[in-house]
């Protein structure tokens, strides 16, 4: 009998165009720091950070179908953990970074196992509260986190080989770009293998997946934990880029923004959330000078997206392509 392996082929005729486009985009994005001003670089770095954070969220929401509002909390946990490990613990950043990821994974697993017993909207509400709880911890453990005063004096990443981060911020941009590419590749692998299949099965119909032998509670917690670990990774990078942490950076609004960015791009589409994060970050920058109106327009825009294009930018692109081919 013939044994078939379900091996994903990375490059074939069908998707060669997609890979070509991706290459062009990556090259173009790499040239941003060369051409544009410091301010644009700053916004672009921010956009990359949010893109990564949104990508980390797409695993639990887009692929596994569990709406969670705690991504900002794991982002914050990562930021504070990494900052404290280097500041109080005196660790080298490049050692603190993997430790932070592990901490993120463990905390997500510990909270996920009871919380993921709940389904759908009940789980969503629980994570909403989790985000609030983590914010309270940042605010109230003054001795550790500086409380409402925040954490200052965080140092940029230590020198790595010949790259000195304290000299040039642009390096950071490339580190982020590189990390996102690694992350997307990781996602591609997850998506193409049995783990990804099970995540998707849970999203599509949890009861059916369970009845076919998928240990749904395990895979849900796994997805939540990986997602939390990646958010913590983003948090660590964030802390050592901005060098200043404050609890308000991680209030529930941050988590909500991540959900919105994912939706703008299109959940569960691999590239959509990254796109959504970039678009939203730049739009938010445009409204920088009208802060009172900013959130009103923001919320109204979200409702409009839900009404008119709930599948996001990727859904829109798909529809346009479909119409053309008709």
């Amino acid at each position: 009998m013939e044994l078939a392996k379900n091996n994903p082929t990375l490059i074939n005729k069908k998707n060669i165009m997609i890979w070509a486009t991706a290459l062009v985009v990556v090259v173009a994005v790499s040239f941003v720091p060369v051409i544009f001003s410091r301010y644009v670089i700053y916004v672009a770095t921010l956009a990359l950070l949010y893109a990564m954070l949104t990508a980390s969220y797409d695993l639990i929401f887009g692929y596994t179908g569990q709406l969670s509002f705690s991504q900002g909390a794991f982002f914050g946990l990562g930021a504070y953990t990494s900052a404290l490990l280097t500041l109080s613990g005196g660790l080298n950043f490049w050692l603190a970074l993997p430790l932070t990821v592990i901490v993120g994974f463990i905390i997500a697993a510990l909270i996920g196992s009871p919380a993921l017993r709940l389904r759908g909207s009940y789980f969503a509400v629980t994570t909403f509260f989790l985000a609030h709880f983590v914010y309270l911890v940042f605010l109230n453990t003054d001795k550790l986190t500086g409380g409402p005063m925040g954490l200052r004096n965080i140092q940029p990443p230590d020198k790595l080989w010949f790259i000195d981060f304290s000299q040039m911020n642009v390096y950071f941009y490339f580190v982020l770009l590189f990390t996102i590419l690694v992350l997307l590749f990781l996602y591609y692998l997850i998506y193409k293998t049995e783990i990804g299949r099970r995540f998707v099965a849970i999203r599509e119909d949890q009861d059916l997946a369970e009845s076919l032998g998928v240990n749904t509670s395990f895979y849900k917690v796994l997805s939540f934990s990986i997602s939390g670990a990646l958010a913590a990774l983003c948090g660590s990078l964030f802390a050592h880029y901005f060098l200043l942490l404050h609890p308000s950076q991680f209030a529930w609004f941050t988590s909500e923004m991540i959900v919105i960015m994912t939706l703008v791009g299109g959940a569960g589409t691999l590239i959509g959330p990254v796109l959504g994060a970039a678009v939203v970050t730049f739009i938010l920058e445009l409204f920088r000078y009208a802060p009172e109106l900013r959130f009103i327009i923001w919320a109204a825009a979200l409702i409009a997206i839900l009404v008119f294009e709930p599948k996001g930018l990727m859904g829109m692109a798909k529809r346009i392509r479909f119409r053309r081919s008709q």
Partner: protein, 284 residues
């Protein structure tokens, strides 16, 4: 000790009252209606301006707040949630959160973030177990209990109430039993909005009126629903009061800075041991 328990009861009554509306909506439509948090805020401003600008008596102001809440919730359901009925991809929940966010920020935009104070509706205080409790606070507890009894009667005795209960049991079968789902949805949303409006009107003089006042009561009310169990009135009342008392005791004896975090810890503990909620029969 007594003072904490009484304060906890006041707080818990408010949680229970908002949770009651949210529970009815949640158990029938599967929407955890975050927009009730925004409705709560706007209703509080309605009360404030009814009393200060329009010089209306307080009981009329409460009715006005209830009406405002009912109208808002009714419209949200009719023009937004209804489009996505039956979908399981959380669109309604996201829309509800966006509405909550929109209303709170609208309040900041229109009336600034500054907090406004109202006089107690009824002055004076009573002496209970040697503790002075203002009539205003007592009124909250009494009104909430009366409302729970009234709504229980409504659900048990009236035809509409029975239709709502049938819909809570099985939304898919309800239309076959001649129940107009649109009507049921409109009624429970309006009811939920009115309850949030009344809750806001009751606390406005005790705490203050400000744009962010909705966030914490909303979160607590949602937790109360999960703790109390889907569709359980008694569960909601007991979980609400219980959470209020525990929070108040925790703030008094353990740490006040975590007052708003206890609910989450209780929730996690309950989830580990009794995932279906304390009083409900929700499927795991």
């Amino acid at each position: 000790m007594e003072i904490y328990i009484i304060n906890g009861l006041v707080l818990g009554s408010i949680y229970a009252l908002i949770a009651l509306g949210i529970n009815l909506i949640w158990s029938i439509t599967d929407i955890p209606d975050f927009s009730q948090g925004g409705i709560y805020v706007i209703s509080a401003y309605v009360v404030y301006f009814s009393i200060t600008t329009l010089n209306l008596p307080w009981y009329i102001a409460i009715v006005a707040a209830a009406l405002a809440g009912a109208v808002m919730a009714f419209c949200f359901e009719k023009f937004l949630y209804r489009r996505w009925r039956g979908r399981t991809d959380h669109i309604q929940l996201l829309c509800a959160i966006a509405l909550f966010f929109l209303l709170a920020n609208l309040a900041i935009y229109l009336w600034t973030a500054k907090s406004l104070n109202l006089e107690h509706y009824i002055m004076g205080k009573a002496e209970i177990f040697g503790v002075g409790v203002s009539y205003q606070r007592l009124m909250i507890i009494v009104v909430v209990i009366v409302l729970f009894i009234l709504i229980n009667l409504f659900l048990m005795k009236t035809k509409t109430g029975k239709a709502i209960r049938a819909a809570t049991q099985d939304i898919e079968v309800a239309p076959w039993m001649g129940i107009d789902i649109n009507k049921v949805f409109s009624i429970i949303f309006a009811m939920g909005g009115a309850l949030s409006g009344i809750a806001a009107a009751l606390v406005a003089p005790v705490f203050a009126v400000y744009p962010m006042m909705g966030e914490l009561p909303l979160l607590k009310a949602l937790v109360v629903v999960i703790l109390g169990g889907k569709g359980s009135l008694v569960g909601t009342l007991i979980a609400g009061m219980g959470l209020g008392i525990l929070e108040s005791l925790g703030a008094g004896y353990i740490s006040a800075s975590y007052q708003h975090g206890y609910a989450f810890i209780i929730l996690l503990i309950v989830l580990v041991f009794k995932p279906q909620g304390l009083f409900g029969s929700r499927k795991e």
